[in-house]
Symmetry: C2
Subunit: 403 residues, 2 copies
């Protein structure tokens, strides 16, 4: 493609890409003069392109930034996944996770319903997202966290200045408590599978289908913990089916951490309902965002898998680390460990013949890895070179490459 | 708005939002059945909606995820800014900063031009972005960092596994060295104002205008360091002017850190060219992404300001901290310190009467704050409550609110 460059200062033109003009100033590339027509491009942004299928009118504030995330063909991951990989990058949400789709609907809905105080039971992405959206609508927020929450997680939530209550005792019991408190007191504790959150999550599925049209994806892989996101994706599939927009659903591949995987266990033993796991049965995992031992939407997630001829698999921390590295090194994506499970899970599925090479596989990394990088504890290999020696060093590094 | 909810398991319907069905399963909201039409919505994503104005065809990989960021009306910041605030959230890029707009054009361009090795001189967002995009296109990447780079920054870059060279000596001298090395050796060191990066940056300005149409923004505020982003925004303005799409440019408000602000100084003393600042003249700042003492596109950034009847201001670390807090607490946005300068800068401008209350002011936070949060060193106020006492505690916290 031919290029034309010019200097802002002296006007000299060049027909090759170079950085500086002879006059010393930097150059820029002149584009072909074409007209700009805005009129036919005004599309409501993010999840609000589906406003007519959501239970609220498009609200004000940061909720407008949710969704509209990219779907990226990522062939570098095909070998691991056993098929044709597409990455649905949910890190590109205002607080860095898909939770914003849910918060963008649930919090404005609660506010419109007259609730002045917003609550949430979470120490991770849902807490961060909820606190941000409540702040954006100038509403008080109370976040219930486990007593032993790490200072690092606290900081991520506290920046929006919600009230943070550390709960001593059984953290898992808070789900039921939350529903009861919301009934009785002037607070709306928006739990992980609040129906308004689920409505927001379905927009991820709509976007995937819209990006693929007229083709359709064969497999959609997502991490599963409480079962909320899987429920939202299933809701979206059912709406598309009911509208006659798709004939066959995608196969849902839900992935759990082997440390706490009640949904996988129920899938494997053919149960309709996951059995809650005891503290003794559950272990530690680097996938801190998942691992709910008693998922409130676990049965619905299972039903989604069975309805779509899908599967639930569990993956180990070692598999998660390896997958995370592949996302970065072969895809250019920085994903959190819980998100890396998607690639690890599909890889397991591929190993047992559950994926065909021509299958379109959508991996949905649910949140950015940037929130937890930067502890400075990783060993990084570097070399040190004096500025004056740089040319020689590079020459020896690069010389075998000369054509 | 009336709602209808149903249970996935037993089919029971409800006409109010509640979380659980009487059968125990979670409920979801039924949307009005409307048709899905994809055909008229297939718009190329992100920066590639402007492909015909960019010097390359839409490439493969993570470059497809760049741009298309939301513009959010954020009235909570109006009082500080003195006008009507809109936030252009550049954190919602694949590596969390606007640098992806530049990398998405520059790296594929370099690869198409036959360069196998991509280089960059950066220890921050540009390094992260460049390493990610090179990895996505399966090209080797060499990142030149200052010898004393912190382990935290290293980790953010190293995840994509580029070669990292710590340069001992004058880090600022690397810009000129980079151009020379790129000429002579089989490497393309894509500096901060590489023309292909600048072309990518202009898409931010196009998106702002498209979001505003048919209105136009009055002020656009961005941080300035090397002058590259300001150059890209100016290039975009000039293209719109040349196409007759706008009559009057927006007033550019460039903001620098008071610790190293050669562009502000040149603006204030009427110079055409910034004077490079010596190490003795520059100080430390929390706005680590900015503060280039010898900006290679500094003169062009100044020209942009003068051409748009704009201004350059400097802000202190205290102002930056306060602005960052306001972004989070009143907007729901987690922005890095360099990005918070935008609000602090406009606030200064407003203090001296440079902003009218009816002005539309676009703040462009250039990168996410999540990359540096989570050190766990901030003091966070919480209270600890036993699960059994939660109800009583909440009741006393919330009871003054009862209507």
């Amino acid at each position: 493609m031919s290029v034309s460059l010019s200097c802002h200062r002296c006007g000299t033109r060049y027909d090759e890409v170079r950085v500086r003009c002879a006059c010393g100033e930097p150059l820029w590339i002149d584009a072909e003069p074409t007209t700009f027509t805005w009129d036919d491009r005004r599309i409501p942004s993010g999840i609000w392109r589906y406003e007519d299928r959501l239970p609220i009118d498009r609200p004000e504030g940061v909720a407008r930034a949710a969704g509209g995330t990219p779907l990226v063909r990522t062939p570098g991951l095909d070998d691991v996944a056993g098929g044709r990989v597409f990455v649905k990058d949910e890190s590109e949400n205002p607080t860095g996770s898909y939770k914003d789709r849910g918060s963008s609907v649930a919090i404005p809905h609660a506010v419109a319903a007259g609730d002045d105080v917003i609550g949430t039971v979470s120490y991770g992405n849902m807490a961060i997202s909820t606190a941000a959206h409540a702040a954006s609508l100038d509403r008080e927020c109370i976040v219930f966290v486990p007593e032993g929450i790490s200072p690092v997680r606290l900081e991520l939530i506290a920046q929006y200045e919600p009230t943070i209550i550390r709960v001593r005792g059984e953290y898992g019991a808070l789900y039921e408590d939350a529903l009861e408190l919301s009934e009785r007191l002037p607070i709306s504790v928006l739990v992980s599978d609040a129906p308004t959150r689920i409505s927001g999550y379905k927009t991820a599925l709509f976007e995937i289908y819209e990006s693929f049209a007229p083709e359709t994806p064969d497999v959609i892989a997502l991490p599963a913990s409480s079962g909320g996101f899987a429920s939202g994706v299933w809701l979206g599939i059912r709406e598309l089916e009911r509208a006659g927009a798709i004939d066959e659903p995608p196969r849902l591949c839900l992935v759990q951490t082997a440390a706490a995987d009640p949904i996988t266990r129920a899938f494997e033993d053919g149960s309709a309902d996951p059995t809650p796991m005891s503290p003794e049965e559950t272990g530690e995992t680097i996938a801190h965002s998942i691992g709910n031992p008693d998922p409130p939407s676990g049965a619905r997630a299972l039903a989604a898998v069975r309805d779509t001829d899908g599967v639930v698999v569990s993956v180990t921390d070692d598999e998660i680390r390896a997958a995370r590295r592949r996302f970065a090194v072969d895809g250019g994506f920085c994903v959190e460990p819980a998100s890396a499970t998607t690639l690890a899970g599909v890889s397991r599925l591929a190993d047992r013949g559950g994926v065909a090479a021509e299958d379109s596989i959508v991996l949905v990394p649910t949140g950015t890895g940037f929130k937890e990088l930067g502890t400075g504890e990783t060993d990084v290999t570097t070399e040190t070179v004096h500025g004056a020696d740089l040319s020689d060093r590079l020459e020896s590094m690069l010389s075998p490459r000369r054509e």
